[in-house]
Amino acid sequence: MLESSTLLSVQNIETYYGPVSAVCGVSLVVEQGAIVTVLGANGAGKTTVLKTIAGLMFPAKGMVHFEGENITGIEPDKIVRLGIAHVPEGREVFPLLSTEENLRLGSLNNQLSRLDVVYEYFPILQKHRKLSAGFLSGGQQQMLAIGRALMQTPRLIMFDEPSLGLSPKLVHEISEIITRINTEQSVSILLVEQNAKMALQVAQYGYILEQGRVVMENTCERLSASTDVKEFYLGMKEAGVRGQRRWKRRKTWR
């Protein structure tokens, strides 16, 4: 039923936090080898979508397919074994374990050979391999979280706001790493971001979530050209007659 090039397909998932619906009917597709981004404001439901795919949350409705196989409601560890890695929001490294221990935790069957791959991407981690992860800087912790995801040779990595709290220089570095991982490791990427500028540069295709629903989807090139995306996500406003403008147009998403 799915095209052969489709790696991940999410159909109409609805996910609730108790009585509150966070995601109401989201569908999206990640093609083999693609970088797909999901943009949206706080509370739009981006993280919930990732958590639902990762099996951390159970959707009330809808289905998730990975490589043509229905993975809806499967235990998170099994999903990891299928090849989906999740780089959670806020890094979530284990602060009392050393850098290398953190990385080894990411490995499924202790394939320590993967360590070299990770250290190749992030030489700084090798330097601090004995250091407790809690002592790493924010950027290093983010690298560690990405490295941990790489340890299991995934087919798909889901990034949840990798740019969170990082300096512009580090954001740039991380985005380059994401692109490199995508091409060199032939890993597909689902990138959730608030930093729309970076995400639209890195990804090829994008979805925009608002209040738990997709309001727009298109190639990143087209998204970047849309007036609504420009004004509401990229902060580019036409200056207006007075050289400044504070009021907002109504969003139309077209």
Binding site: V26, S27, V214, V215, W253
Partner: protein, 608 residues
């Protein structure tokens, strides 16, 4: 009533005199409430009078002469009301601009009306007029209601309403008798309001409403619908529209009722529940929305609630049927209805904020009779009325003692309605406007020997009830030569909770087709419930399931019509339209001509 008879309310034959009468006699009574940041602020007649006086004299000090035009571009708010009366009392002419109008439309309106002053609601409205002011030579000053974000504004053409009022106070001190002089100068033949109408062809035309037109229409509303001083009204429609202006400003001045101005169009449903209006006017679009809201809520509720609702509504319909035919309702049905009302219907009315309503009134667009019947079944009397900007509002109105479902009622007191040889509805009324602003030719074309040619096709039954068939230019003549009135079919379609609006097409074509705008919320919910995968609005409109759903709705409507009147094909408008789009009128109706032009290729494909 002869057209030349003088008309007066409480001895006042002009709006300024009547308004000052209200201010003098009811100074401490509340006239306006406005919700601001969630709190209802009250304004008495005295407040209204003071604001109007300061604004009016402020404009005078800036050079406003009698019969100079002033435009107001704003959503409904208290400043609108205050400014309106300020302008009118010093002899100016007040023209409303829709807050959703584009800069190009703003430019046209300023130039066509020759506006000297322009009131802008806020930064957004200000920016529109600043964009075009180089091409509007008549414009002298721009006054801003809400200065938020404009603290650094340094432009000698612009001032805030506070600054204007300050000018007014200074002027008042220097010329203490000026205000009452101006009020006394008003004569019944003076033009006080310009209301722009789209008209059949060409650009919008400004209908000139006089003092006398207005005083007559104020008595007319009172005669037809009766508004009491104790009544609460909810003001939420744009005041640039004649219906909003009549019901929320002038009927309030006449009846001394209290008008409640909503905070924002988005908060309307909450605001109405807080206000619990006792009389309520709205346009069909709003009534349709409320009906689908209830239909949808019920879909989500329990089986028990559904069957309770079905039963209660059945009783409601049975009772309404008798009432609508002016028959006695049996004691048994009435008692049963009381119980149903107590257990079920009252809660629905409460959720809609209509629980306390004595009457509901609908106009400004065609409405499906089923919808009116539904409100009656809830126990809410709804009266449909008919009129135009060109007759200052009402021409015919269903009233408690004389009403017929499906008709727009008999001619109101003092108004004559008849049909031309082509069945066009003609109106002769003291409310018929003086003409179109600077357009003698079009005036002569529309008003001939005191009769207003409405452009609507209708019929009048033996008892004098008027039925509006359709706009004359909208009548479809199919290739087979059959005359079809699209609005009747469209109304049936709009009654579906999944359809917001529709445009039936088929003039000189072999069969009828239709462009449909879906109800975004309801269809989205349907898609979610039935697991229809979609991403955005466009993709929603292209899913087979939704097309099937709408096809079912179209089929349901088709069954009620003759073979030639059935819709053979339809397409969905796959763009989410907004009030600012040219496809919609300010009252959120689809514009037939714009739709048929914009979607011409899609429409042609339906006939390929």
């Amino acid at each position: 009533m002869a057209l030349t008879d003088s008309i007066a309310i409480n001895g006042s034959d002009t709006v300024p005199k009547l308004f000052m009468h209200r201010v003098a006699n009811f100074s401490q009574k509340v006239a306006v409430r406005e919700k601001e940041f969630g709190i209802w602020n009250e304004y008495t007649w005295d407040d209204w009078g003071t604001h109007a006086r300061e604004i009016g004299l402020g404009l005078k000090s800036l050079g406003l002469g009698r019969s100079d035009v002033v435009s107001i571009a704003s959503e409904i708010n208290k400043e609108w009301l205050f400014t309106d009366l300020g302008i009118v009392c010093v002899g100016g002419i007040c023209n409303g601009v829709y807050a959703t109008d584009s800069p190009q439309q703003v430019k046209y309106l300023i130039n066509d009306s020759g506006s000297k002053f322009y009131f802008a609601e806020d930064e957004e409205q200000l920016d529109k007029v600043l964009q075009v002011r180089d091409t509007t030579p008549t414009l002298e000053k721009i006054i801003i209601f809400d200065m938020e974000g404009l603290r650094d504004l340094d432009d000698e053409m612009c001032l805030s309403i506070e600054q204007l009022r300050e000018l007014g106070r200074t002027y008042d001190e220097a010329h203490p008798s000026e205000w009452s002089n101006e009020v006394q100068k008003a004569s019944p033949e003076d033009v006080i309001i310009l209301t722009y109408t789209s008209g059949t062809t060409g650009r919008p035309k400004g209908a000139m409403i006089t003092q006398r037109n207005m005083i007559f229409m104020m008595t007319c509303i009172q005669n037809c619908l009766s508004v009491y001083p104790t009544d609460r009204q909810l003001g939420f429609l744009p005041l640039a529209h004649i219906a909003g202006r009549m019901f929320y400003v002038y009927s309030v001045i006449e009846a001394r009722s209290i008008v409640h101005l909503i905070e924002d169009p988005d908060t309307m449903i909450n605001d109405i529940c807080e206000v619990e209006p006792t009389v309520h006017f709205a346009v069909p679009r709003v009534w349709e929305k409320q009906h689908s809201l209830v239909t949808l809520k019920l879909k989500k509720s329990t089986k028990f609630a559904k069957s309770m609702y079905d039963f209660a509504l059945k009783i409601g319909y049975a009772r309404a049927e008798r009432i609508l035919l002016n028959l006695q309702v049996s004691v048994f049905i009435e008692a049963l209805f009381k119980v149903c009302d107590f257990l079920v219907l009252r809660n629905i009315k409460r959720a809609l904020g209509l629980d306390k309503c004595r009457w509901l009134s609908t106009a400004a667009a065609p409405i499906a009779p089923e919808l009116i019947r539904w409100y009656w079944a809830l126990g809410l009397p709804m009266y449909e009325l008919y009129g135009q900007t060109e007759c200052t509002g009402i021409a015919t109105c269903n009233v408690e003692s004389r009403r017929r479902l499906g008709s727009v009622g008999p001619a109101a007191k003092g108004i004559d309605v008849t049909l031309s040889a082509e069945n066009e509805i003609l109106i002769c009324s003291p409310g018929v406007i003086k003409g179109y602003w600077n357009r003698p030719e079009q005036t002569a074309d529309t008003i001939r020997q005191d009769w207003l040619y409405t452009g609507d096709i209708g019929r009048i039954d033996d008892d004098g009830f008027v039925y509006v068939v359709d706009r004359m230019k909208d009548i479809i003549i199919t290739a087979g030569g059959k005359n079809i009135t699209p609005s009747e079919i469209e109304n049936h379609l709009k009654f579906s909770p999944y359809i917001t609006d529709a445009v039936v097409i088929g003039d000189r074509r072999p069969y009828l087709t239709c462009m449909i705008m879906i109800d975004h919320d309801n269809v989205t919910q349907y898609a979610q419930e039935t697991d229809v995968p979609f991403t955005n609005y466009e993709s929603l409109c292209h899913t087979d399931e939704i097309l099937d759903l709408i096809a079912q709705e179209v089929e349901r409507v088709n069954q009620q019509f003759a073979q030639a009147e059935t819709i053979k094909k339809f397409r969905l408008i796959d763009q989410l339209l907004d009030a600012e789009d040219e496809e919609l009128t300010p009252t959120q109706k689809l514009k037939r001509n714009v739709i048929s032009q914009k979607y011409a290729s899609i429409i042609d494909k339906m006939y390929a």
